[in-house]
């Protein structure tokens, strides 16, 4: 079974803090993705990576950065968290085109 894990299910941070969200997959997948999910807006792609150290911006990269130093791990970084980054963050990985998702991290920025 494909397994994608995320470091935290729930996270509460303060405005201005630097936040790290970690995602690990155990299936040797090439591609990894970070989405955020908001009511009424659905899932939106923040960044994706198609190989180690390779990354590309998605639809809403502003305020975020990513890191992929190892194939199995894809990190999302909020350089200076803001309240409008309060959201559900979902990580996914894929080998072909089917994406497999982690359990999500619900981030609240106060």
């Amino acid at each position: 079974d494909v397994k994608v894990t995320q470091s935290s299910r729930y996270l509460v941070k303060r405005t201005g803090e630097k936040v790290f969200l970690e995602c690990v997959q155990d299936m040797d997948h090439e591609n990894m993705f970070w989405y955020r999910q908001d009511p009424g807006l659905g899932l939106r792609l923040i960044y994706f990576s198609y190989d180690v150290k390779m990354k590309e911006k998605g639809d809403i990269p502003e305020g975020y950065s990513v890191s992929r130093e190892k194939k199995e791990r894809f990190s999302l970084i909020l350089e200076s968290a803001s309240t409008n980054q309060t959201s559900m963050y979902l990580c996914a990985s894929s080998l072909g085109r089917t994406q497999y998702f982690g359990p999500g991290t619900r981030l609240t920025v106060t």
Partner: protein
Amino acid sequence: SQELEQSPQSLIVQEGKNLTINCTSSKTLYGLYWYKQKYGEGLIFLMMLQKGGEEKSHEKITAKLDEKKQQSSLHITASQPSHAGIYLCGADARPDNYGQNFVFGPGTRLSVLP
């Protein structure tokens, strides 16, 4: 850009009833995917359809793809409370990519009353 619409937006059924959820694309489909999301959790991959007329089943869930209509339907037979959740369709907006052009529908919220 490609958009996916789902209908209905929400659905409440009695346990044991059959139901259908539809997903319609504004553009050509290059693969249609169905996911289920339990409230506050991640997405669980259900099945993928690629060819027109294709039909796949998993337990009591059947999905079909009508390529000409750019539409897919998800049918649940004899629904159970365990089927409750949000069903999302997703599609590749382009045939050759890493998945970065994947789009999702807004979801259909299903409640099954015991």
